[in-house]
């Protein structure tokens, strides 16, 4: 406000202001300040330039800032220059047309504003950039303001809002203005209004504004002064350690020194006489009690300053009050900010809960994808396949290899999904034929044999693809995230995985419940001999079912590879969780697997919420919980009843 007034005065005082004057003559009035600018003297020049309303001012400011303005030594006129060989061509400031060519560089001086001046120029430039026709310039200017909030930006920002054409940028400008007013507004009423308007804004910036308004400093006083805007009173012993509180008071007044365990030793060591300190033999000073006694003896003798006894500390702490005071003196404003902050935090908390729920669902769908193949081979057929994780890995590597040959990510994904299914289907059928069918009545040995396959496959992948992680790049339309507000967001890949999981659920239910194959599968798993006598070939059905389960693992591998890196160990990371998903959900039931995945995903995210920095702990507790859960529901969430249960 004051500056604007000043500028108006300045203009009125200047001879012949307004449209008759061009940039060069305006600059000549401030020749010295422009040619050799300093932080102190540049302000009036900038005011004058801003107030002149000349269209070429922004460009001049930019060039001035970029050290691209030159001054001719003979007459002190300013020019832009263009290099032509060894000589320079001078360009006119207003029109940009060449004035003189072939000028010797020695006759010109480059104007070199220092860092402080350049910042001042940048500030002055902001108002021009805020209404620049180029939207990227306007955005940059808004970003520049947002980086460092400063009261001086209020007038240019508010002036630029009405003329803003872009709706999104206009909202941003209004928000930014609101932040500025909330922190630096002229009247308390305006500030409180701006602060209250922040309650619906969940962005980090808005929360930073609130916390800056609510910034406190710790103060000590015997009595809290009347004018202080107290945030809270600190209780020594609960809010901060007593020793720290005592030391803080000690900085204000003279107090007996606080002698703590580490300093007492070095002090005593300096006063050893004849192997004794304060009458106590050095060798006996291994306990805190004796050390204090020795110190007190020395203190009484006057060699050491008296120390703070517990009584003195208690008295001192009782006499003084330690409190946090707001930097902002007006309590009405801080009260409003506190209220708003509470409201914002409630909303942030709710949004975080929503975000957590989304995270949990997406983790659940990953577990579901990893486990659904297992739900068929283990759940329906009862075959423990420890190499299931390696089928997931094979699927992911298939996707990676396809991307090597097909550079278009969308197309390669369309190719990779069926190919991964085919590859792992074949691998599954081969393993069933070669290994598993000999072991159908020896489940524990199936476990070990398939584990042998698993380590062989893992090492094979390592030998072929190396130990470093391979990328499986998702197509562009899966980049980015669906943003609900500043807290809730979910990446498109996770949505895609979720959709894929649902598709698989539907597909599997359809195959098992509505097709001939599904009917035969169910018949064979319930009673292979009876099924065989009805003309079903159990061998073929088991082979097909195992292939189907393995094939689905391959597709899951592509999906998981898109969101995590592809390594030879990626399967091993999921295998235990997958088995637990199936067991927790209830063996022999696809719905059970869904329930199991949902429970494990929710649980893990829920535990992470209590201790967000520690996913390892979350996994540990989740597994412990599952172990306990199985004690109480050994057959899982969705338990089969009757003959289908199989035991």
């Amino acid at each position: 406000m004051l500056r604007a007034l000043l500028a108006v005065l300045l203009i009125a005082w200047l001879p012949a202001p307004g449209f008759t004057q061009d940039l060069q003559s305006l600059l000549q009035e401030h020749q010295a300040e422009v040619a050799k600018p300093s932080r102190r003297t540049v302000a009036p020049v900038l005011e004058a330039l801003s107030a002149s309303g000349l269209p070429e001012v922004p460009r001049f400011l930019e060039r001035w800032q970029d050290k691209a303005v030159y001054v001719r030594e003979e007459d002190g006129l300013f020019f832009y220059v263009e290099e032509t060989g060894d000589t320079l061509t001078l360009l006119d400031l207003s029109s940009g047309d060449p004035v003189t060519s072939g000028v010797d560089p020695d006759t010109l001086d480059q104007v070199k504003p220092n860092g402080g001046v350049r910042r001042a120029i940048a500030e002055a430039l902001v108002q021009f950039q805020l209404s620049d026709p180029d939207i990227t310039k306007r955005r940059d200017a808004v970003d520049a303001i947002a980086r460092g909030l400063d009261p001086s930006q209020i007038p240019p920002l508010s002036a630029s809002i009405d003329g803003e054409a872009d709706a999104a940028l206009k909202t941003r400008k209004q928000r930014l203005l609101n932040y500025l007013v909330a922190r630096f507004g002229d009247t308390p009423e305006a500030r409180i209004e701006a602060i209250e308007a922040l309650s619906s804004d969940l962005s980090v910036d808005a929360r930073a504004v609130l916390s800056q308004i609510l910034a406190t400093r710790t103060e000590i006083a015997e009595d809290i002064p009347d004018g202080a805007n107290v945030a809270r009173v600190l209780e020594p012993g609960t809010d901060l350690p007593e020793a720290e509180a005592y030391a803080m008071i000690g900085e204000q007044t003279d107090l007996p020194a606080l002698v703590d365990a580490s300093s007492i030793r070095t002090t005593l060591e300096r006063h050893v006489e004849d192997g004794k300190v304060g009458g106590i033999a050095v060798g006996q000073l291994g306990t805190p009690d004796r050390r204090l006694r020795a110190y007190d003896t020395l203190a009484e003798a006057g060699t050491l300053p008296p120390r703070a006894t517990p009584e003195i500390i208690a008295e001192t702490l009782a006499a003084w009050t330690i409190y946090e005071a707001y930097e902002e003196p007006d309590s009405a404003i801080t009260d409003a900010a506190e209220r708003t902050q509470d409201a914002v935090q409630t909303r942030v908390g709710m949004s975080q809960a929503g975000d957590l729920a989304l995270d949990a669902i997406s983790l659940a769908s990953i577990y579901f994808l990893a486990a659904i193949g297992l739900a068929i081979t283990f759940g329906v057929m009862g075959v423990i396949n420890m190499a299931h994780g390696e089928f997931i890995m094979m699927g992911a590597y298939t996707g990676y290899v396809v991307q090597l040959f097909i550079p278009d990510y969308t197309l390669s994904l369309i190719v990779a999904l069926p190919l991964a299914f085919a590859v792992t289907f074949a691998a599954g059928v081969a393993m069933e034929r070669l290994v598993i069918r000999w072991l159908y009545n020896r489940p524990l040995e199936t476990l070990l044999a398939t584990f042998g396959v698993s380590i062989a496959l893992q090492q094979l992948a390592k030998n072929i693809f190396g130990t470093q992680a391979r990328p499986l790049t998702s197509p562009e339309w899966l980049d980015g995230a669906l943003v609900f507000n500043d807290v809730i967001a979910i990446s498109y890949i996770r949505i895609a995985i979720f959709v894929l999981a649902l598709l698989f659920l539907a597909l599997l239910l359809f195959i098992l419940k509505r097709t001939r194959l599904g009917l035969e599968v169910r018949a064979v798993t319930q009673n292979p001999r009876m099924a065989a006598s009805m003309g079903i070939n159990p061998d073929r059905i088991k082979m097909m079912t195992f292939g189907l389960g393995s094939g689905i693992a391959g597709i899951a591998g592509v999906a998981i590879g898109l969101y995590a890196k592809v390594t030879s160990e990626m399967g091993a990371d999921y295998i235990v969780q997958s088995f637990m998903t199936v067991v927790v959900g209830g063996v022999g039931n696809v719905w059970g697997t869904l329930a199991g995945a949902f429970m494990i995903g929710t649980l893990q995210k829920g535990i992470e919420w209590f201790n967000p920095s520690n996913t390892l702990a979350a996994q540990t507790y989740m597994i412990l919980f599952i172990i306990l859960f199985i004690q109480f529901r050994p057959k899982g969430i969705v338990a089969l009843k009757g003959r289908a249960a199989g035991d």
Partner: protein, 387 residues
């Protein structure tokens, strides 16, 4: 009684005799006491292998005899290692700290010593205080008790929960694997109080014997391991013979029928599970001072599966089979991965065994399961029957 038990199990005598000869032979060839034909590091390898044999026969009893495929016995092994490692590390750090503090004029208070030890040990994980689980680390007898108690109690509680709700077969395997995974994930955390993934290190330095050369220390541990294996073998041979052994095997073959005959199946299983866990803990406590370092990766579920692999390759249901399998696989593994095996040049591709050993192991494992369910021990039996 004892004589008849040995008489009924001539293989025990054979095994003990063989172990005795082997121990003597190694002693005579080692650096510390004999010709120096065997290097100290190889003595340590042999000592470690004996410990692995001990945990393998425990695994054989619980799986081969009782039919519980536990994928958690290597976790008990690791717990034993951690328990002894805590004392080794504490005592050694205490020696160093006391030595460095001895130069000070005013003697350090117990608190100062303890703080200095704590910051030495936990500096790597950014902590400087002893977590509660280190409360007994200063005392060797108490920590030795922990070697037995912690795996024992964990197995007791876990087994009681699992057997009580009749979790059997592959479900139990998955459950024990989950337990192992939980334990190793827990240990991987920096605030677990056991130095996170740094683990405990410097365990080969035995406090109080700093001046004893490693060749001598390795020899002592080799003897201790051999003794432990001999005692463990006798103990397990006794457990699996006689009436109790019959019940245990019957549970493996048909649990329901044994229950109908009036035996309390859960108690038998719990006994076997806990006893083998304790022995596994002891084996771990002997193994890690020879290995020198223990970290959570040792406890990962894969280790327990390897344990099952050794037992399966050696032949389940016979104690010497477990020993045979362990020795065979671990020595073969160190031969192949240590570059002992010659590379095979196929013309277009050279098979380097350091890369291909695991493939071979995995496939041979499948082959053993399919074609020789009795394992190497089955071969021994065949030979013994013929002669």
């Amino acid at each position: 009684m004892n004589r008849s038990f040995i008489a009924r199990n001539p293989s025990v005598l054979w095994f003990l005799a063989f172990l005795g000869i082997f121990t003597l032979a190694v002693t005579l060839m080692a650096e510390a006491t004999g010709t120096g034909f065997i290097s100290t590091s190889f003595v340590k390898t042999l000592g470690k292998t004996l410990c692995l044999c001990l945990v393998a026969i425990a695994m054989d009893v619980v799986w081969g005899y009782c039919g519980i495929l536990s994928l958690g016995h290597f976790a008990f092994f690791g717990i034993g290692g951690y328990a002894i490692g805590m004392w080794l590390m504490y005592a050694r750090t205490e020696t160093i700290v006391t030595y460095s503090m001895a130069a000070q004029v005013v003697p350090p208070s117990p608190q100062e010593v303890s703080d200095a030890i704590a910051s030495q040990i936990f500096g790597v994980v950014g902590a400087s205080e002893f977590p509660p689980i280190w409360a007994f680390a200063h005392s060797l007898p108490l920590q030795l008790l922990m070697v037995v108690l912690v795996p024992g109690l964990l197995a007791l509680v876990f087994g009681w929960l699992a057997f009580r709700s009749r979790v059997t077969g592959v479900y139990l395997s998955i459950l024990t694997q989950a337990m192992t995974l939980a334990l190793s994930l827990y240990l991987f955390q920096n605030d677990s109080g056991l130095r996170g993934n740094n683990g405990l290190s410097g365990l080969q330095n035995i406090p109080g014997f700093e001046s004893t050369p490693q060749s001598m220390v390795s020899m002592v541990f080799f003897w201790a391991s051999a003794l432990a294996l001999a005692l463990g073998y006798i103990l397990f041979a006794w457990v699996v013979s006689g009436k109790m052994g019959s019940v245990i095997r019957a549970i493996r073959d048909d649990e329901t029928r044994v229950r109908f005959l009036g035996y309390h199946v859960e108690s038998y299983k719990l006994f076997v599970f806990t006893l083998t866990a304790v022995i596994a803990g002891i084996a771990g406590a002997l193994y890690y001072p020879q290995a020198g370092i223990i970290n959570p990766a040792e406890i990962a579920p894969i280790a327990s599966i390897y344990l099952a692999v050794w037992v399966a390759i050696g032949g389940r249901g016979r104690l010497y089979g477990a020993v045979l399998g362990t020795v065979f696989v671990t020595l073969a593994s160190s031969w192949f991965t240590g570059g002992g095996a010659p590379d095979i040049d196929l013309g277009f591709y050279t098979i380097q065994w350091t890369d291909w050993w695991l493939v071979l192991l995995g496939l041979s494992f499948v082959a053993v399961t399919l074609f020789a369910p009795q394992g190497l021990g089955g071969l021994v039996d065949k030979i013994a029957r013929k002669s």
